[in-house]
């Protein structure tokens, strides 16, 4: 498997991550190094299967589905970069892009 710059930039766009031109070569090299390494799992035949792994207990006890106020030491306005009238403020949406 060989990942090119176009693919790395496409993935960066999916991940909403700005990437600087100065990083391109290193990122492509390291993505290839990692992806080729994890591809060693191809050595494991597809028909070797075990009971699917379940993270955590199989009988997770759920709490009652009731709304309750979360006690917070400070309000969202204290944490948000911009907040007014009960809303988080963001810049304009701009033009939609093709993914």
């Amino acid at each position: 498997m060989n990942i090119g710059l176009d693919e790395v930039l496409h993935v960066a766009k999916l991940a909403e991550l700005a990437v600087q031109e100065s990083e391109f070569r290193r990122l492509v090299e390291q993505m290839n190094r990692i992806v080729n390494y994890v591809a060693t799992l191809d050595e494991v035949p597809g028909d070797r299967i075990a009971e699917p792994f379940l993270a955590g207990p199989q009988s997770v006890k759920l709490r009652e589905d009731v709304e309750a106020a979360v006690p917070l030491a400070r309000p969202p306005a204290a944490m948000a970069p911009e907040f007014a009238d009960g809303f988080f403020l963001v810049p304009r949406h701009g033009a939609m892009e093709d993914q």
Partner: protein, 460 residues
Amino acid sequence: MSGAATARETGARLAKAQPLNAVLHWSQELLDAEGARVDAMPAGSSLAAMPVALKDNIVTVEQPTTCGSRILEGYVSPYNATVVERLRAAGAMIAAKTNLDEFAMGSSTEHSAFGRVKHPLDPSRVPGGSSGGSAALVAAGVVPAALGSETGGSVRQPASFCGVVGVKPSYGRVSRYGLVAFGSSLDCVSVFGRTVDDAARVLSTISGSDPLDATTVDRAPMRVPKALPDLRGLTVGVPKEYFPADLDAGVSTALRRTTEQIQGLGGEVRLVSLPNSAYAVPTYYIIAPAEAAANLARYDGVRYGKRRIGPEGDIRSLYRTTRGEGFGEEVRRRILVGTYVLSAGYYDAYYKKAQQVRALIADDFRKVFDSGIDLLLTPTTPTPAFKAGEKTEDPVAMYLADVFVCPMSLAGLPAMSLPVGRSEGLPIGAQLVAPHFGEELLLAAAQVLERTMDPLAEVR
């Protein structure tokens, strides 16, 4: 000793330990307040005036939580993690928030936005990671215990490098409410201790179900184990795949001595096989980045943390610039890998394949424990602590530092590192592994070994 006196002494030790760069936040004022709070509590609290440090991905109301990242610089949580509430209720004092690899992604604590942590015995070396700050503080004698977090060995590996006890509980044993999420099917709050007893007392305090975390198990908290006289009646499995021919000579000798010690204490040692553990690191480096890519999507500059807006001035530019500038290199790399393995066309080849192999790895452990093995013994790490900068250019070389600790994380098992000797002055850890919710036996056996082995003994 009173809380007030403990606060003063701990503050003095924290100030002296500053060159390690192990601490991101502490103040004498907050420590004194903690001392006064515990002094006002009724006598007899289980952790009376024990100063405990917290990895800075465990949220606290009184101190910032940065996760070692510029993107959360200055962020202060509006609530305490459940583990913090439980420690405080038991009389512990929150001493400091410790340095870590950014968002717990790393094996050396070199990937912190606030500088690397130095190994307490040799500042040119790393303390391991990602919970390197907590490990270094306990090793330097600043605090008797500290919390870290494990996603793929981030407490056991630094515990081994620093020569302290590090315990990862079973997945679901300890609440993660207030632990900043990295890999949700793997993350566990875990414990460092100067001794097995310190670690056991802290783990017992923080364990147990939590209505605020639906992944905690509905069972009683872990009890501090009763002391065992020896290891008679115990069968310890030694998996052959964890002793490769190129294992560091010091690690190999220390583990051989540990095996002999177990036999000398009446335990039976049996060679076993965990064939799929060889695939644990590649499996982990698909599943963990995939989960991280989803979990870290919340850092977008809208609701909290730093905000940067790019030249376009719209919301996409806000997301991309905030995240591109706010996250460090290793985090960005893992988000990219995680997004790649989950993307259309690659999901089956990578993510689905990793889930298949994860099940095989867990099944190996199940079969071994079902065959009459009570505990497993392996090295915690392939080498003692390595030099700073030695592995930063090759991410895969860094990932392989966790080769012996990843499999248990993928299987959700309790495991711990116990210091069992030194090689050329550097600590070596032996790893013990138990079946799910076997923490009490794990810790009881470790106590017997701790009592009878000298962790400072040179093995070469």
